[in-house]
């Protein structure tokens, strides 16, 4: 038996909007600690990890661990039927092949039930080790979204370089090149407008902008985004979800250009 009551139902709606384009089907894992999801995109380049801790729900009941396979597109369709102020309750029964979303209007005068079929998904859970990142950039999420959008009109990839000067986003395309440098800036009125760069050592990595743009669909979840970079690891783009959890996107870097020459095909 599963019953999760989320007063701020819009959060779930936003989460789905943020990840449904990246992942088609995924297993939601429910345990006593929270409601989580981990899934890779179909090309195995990006990974999304979602956590909504149980404390964040007004009512959280999960008798035993459950994994519910859902088509995120369908789930999103159903959640779109909920108003932004609605309270969303997720209900599931052990052994049932459906999940129920219940939407209550704030005034309790409208209650809607949507039952969605579950699906069996062979998910591959990846172990994501805790890592010390070489550089962590925290910046306004809208700024990051803007940069990714702007750069993608010029090139396909973005090179993110963190030095002591700041963080630089650069791209190169048929029409030219673009470089955007952000400096650390903590003297702002609102803390969410700050750009904070914690750097242990300089790092520079290349990523496909297509994925970055997909990640920025989560911008509405949080005012800030945390980008963690290490040369040997996928970048982590993290959006906090209120006080209750996060959605993290992992993206494998592109291999640097100059390696081409080493991969020369041998000759007989």
């Amino acid at each position: 038996m599963l019953e999760l009551r989320l007063v701020q139902g819009s959060l779930l709606k936003k989460v789905l909007e943020a990840i449904k384009d990246l992942v088609n089907d995924a297993n939601f894992d429910c345990s006593s600690s929270g409601f989580s999801l981990q899934a890779m995109d179909s090309s195995h380049v990006a990974l999304v990890a979602l956590l909504l801790r149980s404390e964040g729900f007004e009512h959280y009941r999960c008798d035993r661990n459950m994994s519910m396979g859902m088509n995120l597109g369908n789930m999103s369709k159903m959640l779109k039927c909920a108003g932004n102020d609605d309270i969303i309750t997720i209900k599931g029964d052990d052994g049932s092949d459906t999940v129920t979303f219940m939407f209550e209007s704030p005034t309790q005068d409208k209650i809607a039930d949507f039952e969605m079929k579950l699906m069996d998904i062979d998910s591959e859970h990846l172990g994501i080790p805790e890592a010390e990142y070489q550089a962590i950039v925290t910046m306004p999420s809208s700024e990051f979204a803007r940069i990714c959008k702007d750069l993608s009109s010029i090139g396909d990839t973005v090179v993110i370089s963190v030095t002591k000067e700041g963080v630089k986003f650069s791209t190169r395309g048929d029409i030219g090149t673009a470089n955007i440098v952000l400096r650390q800036n903590t003297t702002v009125d609102k803390p969410e407008d700050a750009t904070v760069i914690e750097m242990n050592e300089p790092v520079s990595l290349t990523f496909a902008l297509r994925y970055m743009n997909s990640f920025t669909k989560a911008t509405s979840l949080s005012n800030t985004v945390k980008i963690s970079l290490s040369s040997e690891l996928p970048v982590v783009v993290e959006y906090k979800i209120a006080e209750m959890g996060y959605v993290r996107f992992y993206l494998a870097p592109k291999i640097e250009e100059d390696e081409d020459e080493n991969e020369t095909k041998p000759k007989v």
Partner: protein, 489 residues
């Protein structure tokens, strides 16, 4: 005594270093012939009975599918079962021994691939075992090994007593022999082989001098061209071919240029190439023509191409050349033949199974010899088959579509990825390779010639880059995979 030593070493490798010891690896590592390596492995299996897993190579004619020669890798426990599927006798050899059967079939040939790569990276002056193919079971007297580097002379094919390019590890391309019914395939890249006059060849060659790394790949292609011309000519009438080759010399040059850039993009691949003396001759010629069609808008090449697909009236088999960034992405099939009618322009045609094998047979003098040649096919095939259940989201499928010039193109793509993306990728990589070539080459090289038609009509490159902006390309060879960072739990 020495044998005993090697057996001990194998044991250490398998049990302590947990390495997959295949006969190919063994052959190169201990400098014994591939057949001797197989015998060593067999002896190892016989004498040190337990504590490891064995992968066998089964080859023979299948029961169900008429005249289909089949090679398969099976693990020890499944050996008997697999034997039942073969008609009459099949040959059973030890392919490899390892501590356990790897989950990912690609692991089977990881070690040998790394080894081969190291051998290839050695300078041209080093006469290693892959370069002169000394351990391979298959010899081809038409092949001249060009150990001295790119500047070696190119002459018209002459039957000298030299060996075939090492089939299993050496070539830049993969030729998959396949004839899945009603499936057609397109080549992404393939060695460029065209019947051309010696003059042209040498001019092309000289343009390639000093091109640095790319030569490594192209040179071998050129070598092969020389070699393969003769068998092809024998079958189809040499005069005919050569005259048409001369007629389209300029376009052939263009074809070559783009072929080279494609090749360089293929260099990142871990593909293998399996030339059967006869099969590959035709295949590569057709491959060349297909590529010309793909990479250039020159009308003359269309003419060349037609000649190939109409040339042979017997039943055909297709050769699938797939150059992709994934090592175990290459699927090789020997399947039932198909009628040539209705096959798309991008299809390679080969002769009927039986005749192929026969002709190979006559050239190599024993079927046994083919086996080592075909083993790789088999590895890949089984890997492809194995990979499917393991990772359901990454299945390989054939997709057919009509491209911007109205040709029907069938590609082997990973399921879930759009063919468009694939196409874009190949164009992107082509472009990149082109750029690389430009930066690496001397002024008088072919790329400028080739680039001008491309720039002129703009059709192939522009849509590609536009789509690339949108989709970014799932199959970008440079794009890392998340699975290489995080392990499954």
């Amino acid at each position: 005594m020495e044998t005993l030593g090697i057996l001990d070493e194998i044991e250490v490798l398998v049990s302590d270093k947990v390495q997959v010891v295949s006969y190919k690896w063994l052959s190169r590592n201990f400098l014994v012939s591939s057949n001797a390596a197989k015998r060593l492995l067999q002896e190892f299996v016989n004498t040190r009975g337990s504590g490891f897993e064995v992968v066998y190579t089964l080859s023979g004619w299948l029961k169900n599918n008429p005249s289909s020669y089949h090679i398969r890798l099976v693990s020890g426990p499944k050996l008997e079962e697999a034997k039942q599927e073969f008609n009459g006798n099949c040959s059973v050899q030890v392919y490899s021994v390892q501590a356990c059967i790897p989950k990912d079939p690609a692991a089977l040939w990881n070690a040998e691939f790394v080894q081969a790569e190291e051998l290839f990276k050695q300078s041209f002056t080093v006469d290693n075992c892959l370069r002169d193919n000394r351990f391979c079971g298959i010899r081809n007297s038409f092949v001249k090994h060009n150990v001295d580097g790119p500047a070696a002379s190119i002459a018209a094919p002459q039957p000298k007593s030299a060996e075939i390019p090492v089939p299993l590890k050496s070539n830049s391309g993969c030729q998959n022999i396949s004839a899945p019914p009603s499936k057609q395939t397109k080549f992404h890249q393939s060695p460029n082989v065209g019947p051309e006059s010696p003059n042209l060849e040498s001019s092309v060659k000289s343009e390639r001098n000093g091109t640095g790394v790319h030569d490594l790949a192209t040179k071998q292609t050129v070598d092969e061209e020389k070699v393969l011309l003769l068998p092809a000519g024998k079958k189809k009438g040499q005069g005919n071919r050569i005259s048409s080759g001369n007629g389209g010399s300029l376009s052939n040059l263009w074809g070559r240029a783009s072929a080279k850039s494609k090749l360089s993009s293929a260099q990142a691949d871990n593909d293998k190439h399996i030339p059967n003396p006869t099969v590959s001759a035709e295949a590569q010629i057709s491959a060349c023509e297909v590529r010309e069609i793909e990479s250039s808008d020159d009308e003359a090449q269309g003419v060349n191409f037609k000649r190939a697909s109409n040339g042979d009236n017997s039943r055909k088999r297709m050769v699938v050349l797939d150059y992709s960034d994934d090592e175990y992405e290459d699927a090789v099939n020997l399947a039932s033949p198909e009628l040539p009618k209705g096959q798309s322009s991008a299809t390679l045609l080969l002769r009927d199974d039986t005749s192929v094998v026969k002709s190979i047979d006559s050239k190599t003098s024993s079927l046994e010899k083919i086996q080592s040649n075909m083993t790789l096919c088999d590895v890949k095939k089984d890997m492809a088959a194995d990979a499917a259940p393991n990772s359901p989201k990454r299945r390989k499928v054939l997709k057919t579509r009509i491209d911007e010039r109205g040709r029907e193109v069938t590609e082997v793509v990973w399921e879930g990825e759009e063919t468009e993306t694939n196409k874009v990728e190949s164009q992107d990589s082509k472009k990149e390779a082109e750029n690389n070539a430009d930066t690496n080459t001397a002024n008088n090289r072919a790329p400028p010639i080739k680039k001008s038609p491309a720039a002129g009509n703009g059709a192939p490159s522009n849509p590609g880059s536009k789509a690339g902006n949108k989709k970014g390309g799932n199959k970008d060879p440079k794009q890392g995979n998340i699975l290489s960072f995080f392990k499954r739990v």
